[in-house]
Assembly symmetry: C2
Homo-oligomer: 527 residues x 2
């Protein structure tokens, strides 16, 4: 393509922040995968693998997960409510879906999905979400506290790359200077940070490894991230003494810690917290007056018998604490769970334990970003208020849901076993969420080779894996693992989704094993 | 509701920027209208009017505009593609819609609307948009230059309030300090500003009155707004000598002007630019190396015989300028036009005349904000590539489209005549878009009364109007009219949508007239 040689807007004259800003390795790998895919389309057989397997992104339906029929029937009817007045509709849609769609349309202002809605979301849909939360927790939930949104944190697929400091061993407090200040569209997290953060002296506790949207948002809003380490040796558990240690250090450093982020089930780490652990966190946050920011987007993704998802709100209420005692924000999305509707951009947050005046301010801020899309709003209400025992379509719905959940549990186990069987690799159990996060003990020669290419060792491994097998994963650097760019003392991981279809997973594992063996043969320590 | 008295997060301790930030009067009036509506639901008959008429917001379907059947049928089928394999579907959907939905689904990766898509939007849908642009303009358009987005600028319904400086007569260059730096979600505008603005020394030409998203976004990204005045006496025309004057002044003040925003058809001002006028703008921007940022979201809303919408790209190409000569970004949305699908959050931008390296940077930035929702992507492709002559549903589609357009033109005329007939009010013709923007020559006593209540005179008028009649409009202050908070030398306007249904407009006008007469009787100058 030719371009405007006399133009004033060139790569040299655009905003340099945009140029400084770079993808986290996730983006780099994803772009490389797309390039390979295009190359293979043009020249079939040009690579030693038949297709790219996208294990880098939590995008279930792109890997063949089927949507829930009831959900799709209802949104289809709501898009085209004229169908509700036709007899023939009964031949194509379940009575269950027709009833639900009718109820939704009748409860919408103007009975239409094409208008801007209340910026907090349509009231009747928030009522459905609140009733679903109440049923889940056994404690009341109020529609006034629900904010429907376009997706949630989990929907952010490309994030910001932390510059140099994060690549060193001693990650302390990240500040504005470490990041390209950049707008991102994760409304839920941004809104919370906007309300909480007044200056760089305000700190937010966040886990490491973390989903990097949190650090990005904290820093974007001018605050300071106070990281606490999850324990890899303890199945990525959250140890309260570690949190307290980090909190005290931050206080001594002059920070006012205002909130604590917990991702449960964990991303990228896959742990599901025990109730005892959650109780410790609630007691700690209550004592110190910290807001709990609970990323609960994987609440429907739990695969082990001995763990169960419990919302932080439920745990707090069970301890007898009401909204006078503790403030909790819970984030959720329809992109994950058994629905996997990433393209729909639906989600909610529940905000409890703030005063009416603070809620007024939150609503004011929320209204600036318009209304969430109606399709996503409806889907969110369905996911939180699905068919019940006694509804005509309950059995069919449950069968679809169970099939997905059972299969995910099976695939999680298969992948963990595969990673664990590889030389120099260890992999904690995937108790929940949709990722395995194995640690790679890389040989010194591999670390040296990565250094020569000026990439982190985990990125080096992930690129080699992609080029050899077509399997795209995310290097752990993107999640701020305990690492060291140029040192052998760091830890190195890859994040691999468990979403590959059952009929493809064995072939994928075979390719992974063959690659890993050859990689180790090339770089194995000869000492 | 009780609240957490011991909590660390109170109205006193939240981020003070959130508290400083305030609604533009639009938000104030809208909230007051919602309060009145709730009050009337609880106590019917408590107000001297039967209902609130929301003329403050461009929200067509909320005021009864019917959606286009073809659009709704296609998105309904795409949500639930299982329908495409059923014979009964032909009884409920037109063959036209079935064919289109099949084509769309078959062109989507994974044949599924539930996955994250390419962050620029699904390729086949961008091809449809590009072919629609080419058909509209008679010049080629490339899918690589199309970015599908969640809505467009037009979708932002609540905007940021300019603090003190904008309320004074001598609005010069707005800078960061005048605004609460605040994230807003208008992706299209923000992306453009992000690329263009390097520092406060970079200026962007914007019209006054303006849709305030532009100033907000410029300042959010640390640039400087360089306003040019539209001529109210010249039917809100854009006079090129005024633009040149502002440009020269900015240059003398040390600014590097990088781009020019043009809203055509105009919001809030309703003018449609002549080709001659557009040619002058293209020549000027080309000569000075300015990017044209063309807000063309009202391209389907033109109501006068002697004006026709022409895209800036078409005008530039007709003058013989290609992408080597001038850079143009065009913004569009499905919220307006005849589709009016605000709740869907669909839109696109076309970016032409940047080099491949700049386009690479733009794609990188775009990918951070995920993918746009699939429902909105599909709808955008339909709006730009609707049924054609020869398609089975062409006649039905055109009939619906024409009915909406004809009715809007009629309502525009009715409202302008009504406003013009009122004492002390003048109103330019609504050539396009969906708003009347009448000027109110307020009596000194009314301005004094507004001052006593510490609101701008136009806000005072709009509040009185709402309380007396239930008609909600936006005070002109929200659009940075030439104004003066505490002076009689400013101009005062209200923005009123032309969307009230035909069967309600006469009653609305009668209420408006009665109110205005009584208002003037109360405040009329007795000199």
């Amino acid at each position: 393509m030719s371009y405007n040689k006399t133009a004033s807007i060139t790569a040299e004259t655009i905003n340099p922040k945009v140029k400084i800003f770079d993808y986290e390795p996730c983006g780099e790998i994803a772009r490389h995968a797309e390039r390979l895919e295009q190359e293979m389309e043009k020249s079939p057989g040009s690579r030693p693998f038949p297709e790219i397997i996208y294990c880098n992104l939590g995008n279930p339906q792109a890997l063949g997960q089927r949507p829930i029929t009831f959900f799709r029937e209802v949104i289809s009817l709501c898009d085209n409510p004229a169908l509700l007045h036709r007899d023939e509709t009964r031949m194509l849609f379940s009575p269950c879906a027709i009833n639900r769609a009718r109820k939704i349309i009748e409860s919408m202002p103007g009975r239409n999905t094409g208008a801007y809605t209340n910026s907090q979301g349509i009231r009747s849909l928030r009522e459905a979400v609140a009733s679903g939360i109440a049923a889940r927790d056994g404690f009341p939930s109020r529609p006034e506290d629900i904010f429907l949104t376009d997706g949630a944190s989990s929907a952010v697929r490309t994030t910001l790359r932390l510059t140099a400091p994060s690549h060193h061993m001693h990650l302390t407090y990240l500040t504005m200077l470490n990041w390209a200040a950049f707008f991102i569209s994760s409304f839920q997290i941004n809104l919370s940070m906007q309300i909480l953060i007044r200056s760089q002296e305000d700190g937010i506790l966040c886990p490491l490894p973390e989903y990097p949207l949190y650090s990005a948002s904290i820093i974007l809003h001018g605050g300071t991230m106070v990281p606490y380490n999850l324990s890899e040796d303890g199945d990525w558990g959250l140890e309260i003494f570690e949190v307290k240690r980090c909190f005290e250090e931050a206080r001594i450093a002059g920070l006012t810690v205002r909130a604590m982020v917990i991702i449960n089930p964990g991303n990228p780490t896959g742990q599901v917290l025990s109730v005892t652990n959650q109780e410790e966190i609630v007691e700690f946050c209550r004592k110190e007056g910290l807001v709990i920011l609970a990323d609960e987007v994987y609440q429907d993704n739990v695969y082990v018998e001995d763990r169960k998802f419990n919302s932080f709100k439920k745990v707090a209420r069970s301890l007898g604490y009401d909204e006078n005692d503790i403030s909790i924000v819970s984030f959720h999305s329809v992109s994950m769970g058994y629905s996997g509707e990433c393209g729909r951009r639906g989600g909610y947050m529940e905000i409890c334990g703030f005063g009416d005046d603070v809620m007024g301010e939150i609503r004011k801020v929320a209204s600036v970003t318009l209304c969430p899309n109606t399709n996503g709003q409806i889907l969110t209400s369905l996911a939180m208020d699905p068919p019940k025992l006694g509804d005509g379509c309950f059995e069919a719905f449950m069968a679809e849901k169970e099939e997905i959940s059972t299969s995910l549990a099976k695939r999680a186990k298969t992948l963990v076993n595969a990673f664990s069987s590889l030389e120099g690799m260890t992999c904690n159990k995937v108790e929940g969420a949709i990722y395995a996060f194995p640690r790679i003990h890389l040989p010194a020669a591999a670390i040296k080779a990565a250094k020569a290419e000026d990439v982190s060792p985990d990125t080096f491994y992930a690129c080699r894996l992609l080029d050899a097998t077509g399997i795209a994963v995310v290097p752990g650097s993107g999640f701020h693992q305990i690492s060291g760019r140029n040192t052998a003392t760091g830890t190195w991981h890859i994040r691999c989704t468990i979403l590959v279809a059952e009929d493809k997973i064995e072939a994928m594992i075979a390719r992974l094993k063959a690659f890993h063996e050859s990689f180790m043969n090339e770089f194995r320590d000869r000492s």
